[in-house]
């Protein structure tokens, strides 16, 4: 047994770290560290840099312009990206649709869309959930009716993250409402966001930000060649995509960064005349978090290593998602808690680039309450933690 990284993996880490140090601009990393709003231009700038280095399609095989990295390399890459304060790679095109097209797409679809994902020409958004179909995704109602060479699509999608930046939309629709099982009769369609009949409306989050959207589809005409996989077999495609959404969902890198930040804050804050990290209650809370995180990092690496050895992750990804979100949420709870009364001031303008006003308390306090509330989403999205438990329980108990 050797829980350390190999010299090759260590060298890879150094390479990634070195590249980030030279190429990630201070402007972008400052915005990320201050939790400021990233614009489409910010993401485009970052994606372009990664593309030049050949790291944009980090999940793709080499022959399609990907990296061909091992799971351990992907893990290291992710960790270094977060630690450096890099913007996240928007996953909808490159990490979700890309692998789907590689597996289910026609040659024409691959030729048309993969290069445009890689070049950044297309920004994809996801249309899975509906107001009535959340955890129970298979109950989706958006209807597509065949009309000659087109489908006519009517319905409503929701939680479309950064849909307002997108020019393309992949979407689950019902093509056969009479199918004996609900999972049958669903198809996977690609659309242009500017198709007549598509209307996108912002959803404001609980902290007042615009990140997600709802998408209304009224008599939208979609060419039949935009069908991915067989008609009525979109559920298979959808499930494959969701397994991609789940890799890395433990968010170890994010939790490690949060813990490092927490330690700095707890050293700087004072409680009863001493640093907060010397307060026995708070020190115990931090230590419990650190122990959970240490264990989870190894847990995550065990799953990553097994995937590298060729075994497909099964229920482990559900277990990691649950524990990962618990740990990350606990970290944001402690960060909020650490700054005491100064968690409360809310300055929306402080999250715009170039804001150089004065925070009421310490600068680092500004995003902490927002981040705590925003991170509640992690145990809800990507298959809620309740759904993950159902998956594991079914595997475990057979009921």
């Amino acid at each position: 047994m050797d829980l350390g990284y190999t010299p090759e993996e260590q060298a890879f880490r150094d390479d990634v770290r070195g590249w980030l140090a030279t190429n990630l601009s201070a402007r972008l990393s400052t915005k990320v560290r201050r939790a400021q709003r990233l614009t489409k231009a910010d993401y485009d700038e970052w994606h372009a840099l990664l593309r030049m280095r050949g790291w944009m399609a980090w999940h793709w095989p080499v022959e399609h312009g990907g990296t061909g990295w091992t799971p351990v390399q992907k893990h290291i890459f992710e960790e270094e990206m977060v630690a450096a304060g890099a913007p996240r790679i928007i996953p909808f095109g490159v990490n979700m649709l890309g692998p789907v097209l590689l597996k289910f797409g026609t040659e024409a679809q691959k030729d048309r869309y993969l290069p445009r994902i890689l070049s950044g020409e297309d920004w994809w958004a996801q249309g899975y959930s509906e107001p009535g179909a959340g955890s129970d995704l298979a109950s989706l109602k958006t209807r597509a009716v065949r009309d000659g060479d087109h489908y006519i699509v009517n319905g409503q999608k929701t939680w479309t993250t950064l849909g307002h930046f997108a020019n393309k939309f992949f979407c689950l629709v019902r093509t056969d409402p009479e199918a004996p099982k609900r999972q049958q009769g669903i198809s996977f369609l690609l659309m242009d966001m500017d198709s007549p009949g598509i209307e996108i409306r912002p959803i404001y989050t609980l902290e007042g930000e615009h990140e997600i959207n709802e998408v209304f589809l009224t008599d939208v005409r979609v060419p039949v060649e935009n069908l991915v996989g067989p008609e009525n077999d979109g559920w298979t495609v959808a499930k494959y995509l969701l397994t991609y959404e789940r890799t890395g969902i433990a968010g170890v890198a994010y939790s490690k960064q949060a813990l490092a930040g927490l330690k700095k804050v707890a050293r700087d804050q004072r409680e009863g005349g001493r640093p907060l990290d010397e307060d026995p209650h708070f020190a115990a809370r931090m230590a419990r978090l650190e122990i959970d995180l240490m264990a989870m990092e190894i847990f995550n690496l065990r799953v990553v290593a097994a995937a590298g050895a060729g075994s497909a992750p099964g229920v482990e990804s559900s277990l990691l998602k649950i524990k990962g979100t618990q740990v990350r949420q606990e970290a944001t709870d402690l960060l909020r808690r650490a700054v005491g009364p100064y968690a409360a001031p809310d300055l929306p303008e402080a999250f715009d680039e170039g804001w150089n006003g004065e925070a009421p308390g310490p600068d680092y306090a500004l995003p902490l309450a927002r981040s705590y509330f925003n991170m509640r989403k992690t145990s809800i999205y990507g298959g809620s933690n309740e759904i993950q438990r159902n998956i594991v329980a079914k595997h475990l108990l057979g009921f």
Binding site: S135, T205, L206, E207, G208, Q329, P360, R376
Partner: protein, 373 residues
Amino acid sequence: MDFNLSEERQMLKDTAGRFLREQYPIDKRHEFARGEDGFSRAMWAEFGDLGLIGALMPPEVGGYGGTGEDIALVFEELGRGLVVEPFLASGVLAASPLIDSGDAGTLAGVIAGTGALAFAHGEPEGRYGLSHVASRAEQGTDGWRLTGRKAMVLNGSAADCLIVSARLSGEVTDQGGLGLFRVDPAQSGVTRRSYAVIDGAAAAEITLDGATGIPIGTPGEAFPMIERAIGRGVLAVCAEALGAMEVAKDLTVEYLKTRVQFGQPIGANQVLQHRMVDLLIEIEQVRSCVMLAASTLDADRATRERHLSAAKHLVGRVGRQVAEEAIQMHGGIAMTWEATVPHYAKRIVMIDHLFGDTDYHLDRFIRFSREAS
């Protein structure tokens, strides 16, 4: 033993509840919170007319209540309504030393809902420390002059009178040597910087630069008055959290009964049923502890403070559970501004950041328990 409210108090509770349900819908509440003052002055005056502010004060200063029971009753209703008007800042914190010193004149405007006060006590480095006061008070030939900085002053910007703590002598955290002063915020020695807080309403950083102040009580001996003000505030926010938790729970129960997934209401899932029951148990615990703290608000110091800290500790612990579970059981919809439940969740969680969090009060409970035994 009688756990029931008197007839008068039941009427007050019913009146407040009905008024808030009919006149204080959540979209209006958001509008008030986003206004210049962080609340609606018209609504504040209506609350005055209704007697809800006066219920927080004893008859000696022109009020109609003022006991722990009154404070708890009013604030539970305010919590249910998610009210942003400055009941806490004006009617409890700043009012407390004025009640103690019998200043009926200043309180008349507050009771009527025409005046608003703020209690400028916390400081940037002070966190939750009750006696952490670095601001200085010096007596000159023309009276008292105050210098220092006050942090997270609730309603600090809209107040027409500030009640300010400052130190005459001693070290920064000494309980001795403190004074409380009435300060006119319109004078040149006072600078206020207002901002919104994440759970609604507004607060301010206040800088005092040789501001003139009129002492309340005996300068140098203000600590008991400060502790009393914060103690009343602790009771108020505990009761407010209780009301907010009740609503968060009710909204969640309703959602579990009506949201259909997999062909049945999600509340048909036993795991959610059990989690809901756990919330119910914990909220009953909070209600009980708030009743205990309310009934001993005028007891000896050790009993009073021990019960207040017990309640605040429990509110912090249970509040987080209720807020997080309410969001989780609602799912994605609770992450949206448009939904009602996240605004309750925000208030419940942020109450843990007022007057000491759950750890702070656990510690304080232990200290007062030792003293009492």
